[in-house]
Subunit: 460 residues, 2 copies
């Protein structure tokens, strides 16, 4: 399993025992939350940027692919080494270099876990907005690579909206410094936001300066149950067209409500047609008025009942049920295609209706829930992976979901990214000239095509 001996010796000289070629170790770095898997020829565990530069230069010399890896929580296969080569895991570059509360920024290495960073920020009264469900065990570098979002993105933005500067190593082995630790900047091309969401195909991030936001003093939540998904989707559009922006606005369809109750143990009526979880945050003296405005917007055709989850415990219970949804889907069917399409908010009713139609045509359950305030829905197509007919119908349904999304002015992914899972759909979402330009930009950062080949962009 060892790569060519000269390369092996070079990496060992740079990394010592942080260069691993043992097949058992390679195996565990070869899969991610997509459940896809491939074997790398070795795993590098660098401790600093100089080692990362040396690794990239060695790989370039030997034309070996590099797959950068945070903690492998992505769902798209973005960290699966399908082209062989090596995995570079940033787990040892996990320092919080600096927390500068006066500048509302933190300087971190890519391997720090999102949850660990949030814990370190809490005493400063600050947080970093991205809050994917995986936050406790996903890394900031991985969050940046995938432009991770989460429920609070509706008010605070996703990863790309919360980065000030990045230091990174290109596929040519050059260290670049993009942006500055200022909250405003008009000095040349904005390379740092280009790197966010590029899934390790342009450069390896070795340091990030993150934009922080003051933690709100209080939170309050509402739970609104609707007769059907269409009514709930219409309420989302109403909620987002009035002045008070919720700090969270989550949608669950009837399947999702039932799962949250039966599997997640949430206190929810089994016969709800759809549910919205609406959260507001802010100063304590403002919350009542804010919740009042949101309640008013949530009310309308098809609303069955609206309840306040005023105390923190009630809010936490509601949220725990939502977080348990994704894993609990496995109890319905062994096969799951989990997508995260995004449409303009006003088109959510059309998306929800259309997906229900696709489910009927495919004779497969499709469970929808997600970040409705951004128009970002997790569409879960459930099937029996041992049934060839169901597999084919699931694939066909997925293609129809993407087609519907794009016809509604939306796009393939809101926060999961493209990786391997969706790369072949890119030509539907992006025009040929734009795709050609993306390929050319990849060529500038990575002239030999060694950085995470086969991800994000479809084969030429």
């Amino acid at each position: 399993m060892s790569p060519r001996p000269a390369f092996d010796a070079e990496l060992a000289a740079v990394l010592g025992d942080a260069w691993r070629t043992d097949p058992a170790e390679c195996l565990v770095y070869g899969y991610d939350n997509s459940r896809m898997q491939a074997m790398p020829v070795g795993v590098a565990l660098p401790q600093d940027r100089e080692q990362v530069v040396a690794i990239v230069r060695a790989c370039r010399k030997h034309r070996l692919p590099i797959v950068p890896r945070g903690r492998g929580t992505n769902t798209t296969g973005a960290t699966v080494p399908i082209a062989g080569g090596i995995v570079v895991s940033f787990e040892r570059m996990d320092r919080i270099v600096d927390i500068r509360s006066g500048d509302r920024c933190a300087v971190v290495e890519p391997g720090v876990l999102n949850g660990d960073l949030q814990a370190a920020l809490a005493p400063h009264g600050l947080f970093w907005p991205p809050d994917p469900t995986s936050a406790a065990f996903s890394s900031v570098g991985g969050n940046l690579a995938c432009n991770a979002g989460g429920p609070h993105a509706v008010k605070y933005g996703a990863s790309r909206d919360n980065v000030l500067a990045l230091t990174a190593v290109t596929g040519a082995g050059e260290l670049i410094v993009c942006g500055a630790s200022t909250t405003k900047g008009a000095t040349g091309y904005d390379l740092q936001r280009l790197l966010v969401g590029s899934e390790g195909t342009l450069a390896l991030i070795v340091e990030a300066t993150l934009r922080l936001v003051p933690a709100p003093p209080g939170r309050s939540a509402l739970r609104a149950i609707y007769r059907d998904a269409t009514s709930a989707a219409a309420a989302v559009a109403r909620l987002m067209s009035q002045p008070v922006t919720p700090s969270m606005l989550e949608f669950m369809d009837a399947h999702a409500v039932r799962l949250a109750r039966d599997v997640g143990g949430a206190d929810l009526p089994a016969d709800a047609g759809a549910l919205l979880m609406i959260e507001a945050d802010g100063a304590l003296h403002e919350l009542d008025a804010t919740i009042g405005a949101l309640s008013k917007a949530a009310a309308g055709e098809g609303l069955v009942v609206i309840d306040a989850a005023r105390d923190e415990a009630a809010r936490e219970r509601l949220w725990a049920a939502r977080k348990a949804l994704s894993p609990s889907l496995r109890t319905l069917a062994a096969g799951k295609i989990n997508e995260d399409v995004v449409v303009p908010v006003s088109r959510i009713p059309a998306l929800v209706d259309g997906v229900q139609g696709i489910a009927r045509d495919a004779a497969l359950p499709i469970v929808c829930f997600g970040h409705a305030g951004n128009g970002n829905l997790h569409v879960n197509i459930l099937f029996d992976p041992t049934d060839a007919g169901q597999c084919a119908r699931a694939d066909a349904a997925l293609a129809k979901v993407f087609e519907l999304t794009i016809s509604l002015g939306g796009t393939l992914s809101g926060e999961h990214g493209i990786g391997l899972a969706k790369r072949d759909f890119m030509p539907q979402a992006v025009t040929p000239a734009t795709l050609a330009l993306m390929r050319a930009i990849k060529g500038v950062f990575d002239p030999d095509g060694i950085l995470n080949p086969g991800k994000l962009l479809p084969p030429a």
Copy 2:
């Protein structure tokens, strides 16, 4: 003054009488607010994207430079045709294509004036955050090209933070579509934010989908006078490290206060050492508490007096004096170098102190004011342009201001951009490898180097 006849005929065929080569017309499209000037060989006034594609293809064939132009309000020479070629003015592409209040977005052509857009959005209870002083007569396309900001950027971000999608024509004459009209997206490389701030060197924007924000129901303002600039700068750092984000946080040094009073007619004490204008916005019932929190943070060492400008008229008077500052500087000296450096907020005291030292050494007045909440100060070096000694000292002082800014972790420009005025300072702010990458990216979008040559990037 006509370009080569074949080219002239091609442009006339595409544009009819919207292709102008009359020297008198060329003259007025040859300068901008930098007061620099050069003559183009002609001016194109396209009406649609197809004409823009045809113009770029003709220029590429004939290797003629293209300078895209909004309304020429930039201060950096970004729209001066220093390499000859043609000016493409977007003044006839000024339609507001769609306002979709439910999706909080607007689709516009690049030539629409910022102020006209805001007026059209007001009945929907929405606004587009960028609010440069030039808003009434600068175009959205120009705002995007320069990543324009303004006083409200401290809470709402600059142009780059408020764009969802762009359609543009590259230097190869290809129409590209970047982003989608969704508030979240992780579908390939983020080209739209790369185009923002690229000053027309990568592509010509022909349509923009803008992120809109609900207009706040109310506003309230404070005026805080300090003994000296250092005390005011320290208050800025305190204001930005507490949870309530002001909607505006403007700084004026002693010179600026005197000018605002004597020339702008503001009701201000002449002997103030420095002044902060602090604004909050939000729901009416929240404003008192918000202003209370901001007052508390503004108080501290060196505060002389703090007053509320509670009614709209008082707020407007205060703000009018601030807006009059930039033009009124011309009354102090005929020569003005107006820069807009940006530093982390905690470093504002060091920046203000350092600039005062540079002014003393140069024996020239330097007036500082600007968007302190973002650490973005307008540093105005005043001199007599007929005095060679003063000119040399002003240039030397400017270089020292940039050097100081970069040593404080800041960068060359917060919102004005680089253009011609600052391109030669880019190697101080950006590492050689990063600059090389910016050049290579330029080459991908604009293989023949015809788009706004000589701007943003220093000569190789």
